[in-house]
Every structure is written in structure tokens, then in C-alpha cells.
Symmetry: C2
Subunit: 181 residues, 2 copies
């Protein structure tokens, strides 16, 4: 049987973006927002803070993001059983390409370049599973979508949710157990 | 009915790569190869010329490639009837990302960024048609593959062949005529 394929998003799934926006917010407005302030939102969706989104277009923004806890270990394990593809909607951000590629080479050098995809509309992706923090990417996906919890998606309830990589690991252990029954 | 999707390769389909390698070959070896010399091959696959492939890794290589004749006009027409996705195996060449993106913005600014994909292994692509000069990309494609003629693929005969963009136009006119019968 061919190995199943998992498409994994980068931002807010493998890479933490919120800490950087929190710092930007504080630097710009002089106050640090509480988690409850941006419940169900991205930080640049708060009133008057649209300008913060500009940072995504700057060289360097994506280069030094912290790695999501447990992602390296769990993805390495999953690669033993699945074909892993990194699928990131980089195309809006021309200046992110090299940063994202270099970040992956630094933190996930065990993922071959053949399995990395920079795209725009993820509906072009053919895989069995997709792990993503954006419901709109899972909406058009034909396989099984897993919503990776992020502050902006906490009110979304149409997809199976994973709260971090240990839950991703548990999900796939369960999938394999059920498949072999 | 949803619009059908066409995945289109860049190098040797939208962008001409051979003229640059011919010039490189001549600059390196002092002789200009005849077309018959590289029949069924890439220029860097000729004996002793493997080193020429290094050029693909240099900044700038993909930025100034000539546009394939008729590609702009035909792709613009196809966009009226189909969803067009540009799918290029850029991931081996980290330094090509910005060049390829800027080249597309210069010559194909009518193609939205959402419809551009930089990848490695094209088997991840879900589309109805794929136009590519590499048989190995069509081998794993689930839709209908069209082999775009290039010097290196002239002996390949497993796929429907298109000799240039006017034949691509004719192929899709025929497809639509047959579909509406």
C-alpha cells in the first residue's frame, strides 16, 4: 500500500508567529495585549492595528520565528510512516521565500527539498491529511483536515482540532491503530 | 460545473532555458553544439559538461530567460475558461525563488499570486491537466498530461505531445469542442 501523505502548514503550526506580533504590538502601541483581547483574531485584526500586517512583507520576518514545541520530534516520527509535505502559503510574500527555506533547512533539515511547497491557494494540494491553522485551507481540502489551534481559530468548530503536536502524534497513533484493526 | 484546472510548468514551457545553456557551453568550451549533438539530452548531460548545471544555482539565472513564443497570449486566453496554476520545481534551487517570482510578475502579471506554486515533487499537485517538459512529472500525475516538446524529451512517446503554445491552444479548443458535443 502506498504511504499516506500529510500536508503540514508552517506559520502557527511549525513556526510561532504570535510572539513576534505581540512584541510588534507592544513596540508600536506601548501596551501588551492580553490573550483575551485577541481571542478569535489575529493581532493585526485588532482595531487600529492593521498596519502591523506590513511586517509580513519585510525581509527577515520569517527567518527567526521560534519553532513550535514538539514539532521537530513529532514530524520526524511521522516521516517513518507517512510522506510529509510542508505546504506554506508563501506566495503573497515575495520576501519570505528565502527566509522560509532557510528556516526549514535550519530547524527541519531532515525534510527533503522535494517535499516543500510554497503556494497560494492550497486547494491544489493532493494529500490524505492536512494540518493547518486556517479553516479556509481545510474547507477546500479533499482529505482529512486537522485544525491546529491558534488564537485566531479558537471559535472554529467544523474540523477536528489538535492542540499542539503531542495531540497530532496521538491522532496519528489512533489512525494507525484503527487502520490495522 | 467547476472550472477545470491546468498546471503549467515554467522552465522550457513558459521560459526558454536552452539559449542560455548554449551560450554557457560556448563560453566554456569555445564551440557551439549543433542541435543534433544534444538530441534527447540536456546540454549539461553532454560528456564533460556536467559542471554547466551549476549555473542553475546562481542568483540571476532564472531572471532574464526569454519568454516562450505565444505563451503569454495563449495562457491569457486559457484563463478565460480554466483555472491556471503555474507549477515549477524551484525547490532544488534556493536562489531561484525571487528570480522566478519576479520573472512571472514581469511577463505574466495577469496570473494571480494565489495560482503560483514552487515545489519539488509534482505528484502533490491536484489538477485536470498538466503541461510539462519532463516525463517524470507526467508519470505521477493523475489528470491528463501534455508533454511540451524540448530537446531533451524528443524520444519520449508515452504522452500526448504539444510542439509549442499554438498546439496547446489547439488541444484545448478540441477538448472543449468534444466536451460540448
Amino acid at each position: 500500500m502506498p504511504r499516506k501523505r500529510i500536508a503540514i502548514d508552517m506559520d502557527e503550526v511549525m513556526a510561532q508567529v504570535v510572539p513576534k506580533f505581540l512584541r510588534l504590538y507592544e513596540d508600536t502601541f506601548g501596551v501588551k495585549p492580553e490573550t483575551s483581547d485577541y481571542h478569535g483574531k489575529k493581532l493585526y485584526q485588532l482595531p487600529g492595528s492593521k498596519q502591523l500586517r506590513e511586517a509580513l512583507f519585510h525581509k527577515g520576518f520569517f527567518r527567526d520565528l521560534p519553532v513550535m514545541p514538539d514539532s521537530q520530534e513529532v514530524i520526524r516520527e511521522l516521516m517513518e510512516e507517512y510522506d510529509i509535505f510542508i505546504v506554506t502559503a508563501a506566495m503573497e510574500f515575495r520576501n519570505s521565500f528565502e527566509d522560509k527555506f532557510d528556516w526549514l533547512r535550519e530547524h527541519f533539515d531532515f525534510i527533503p527539498w522535494k517535499n516543500i511547497i510554497f503556494c497560494g491557494d492550497k486547494s491544489i494540494i493532493d494529500a490524505d491529511y492536512m494540518i493547518d491553522d486556517h479553516a479556509f485551507n481545510l474547507e477546500t481540502f479533499k482529505g482529512k483536515g486537522l485544525l491546529f489551534t491558534a488564537t485566531h481559530n479558537v471559535d472554529e468548530n467544523r474540523f477536528e482540532r489538535v492542540n499542539g503536536w503531542l495531540e497530532v502524534r496521538a491522532f496519528f497513533e489512533k489512525e494507525r491503530a484503527e487502520a490495522s484493526e
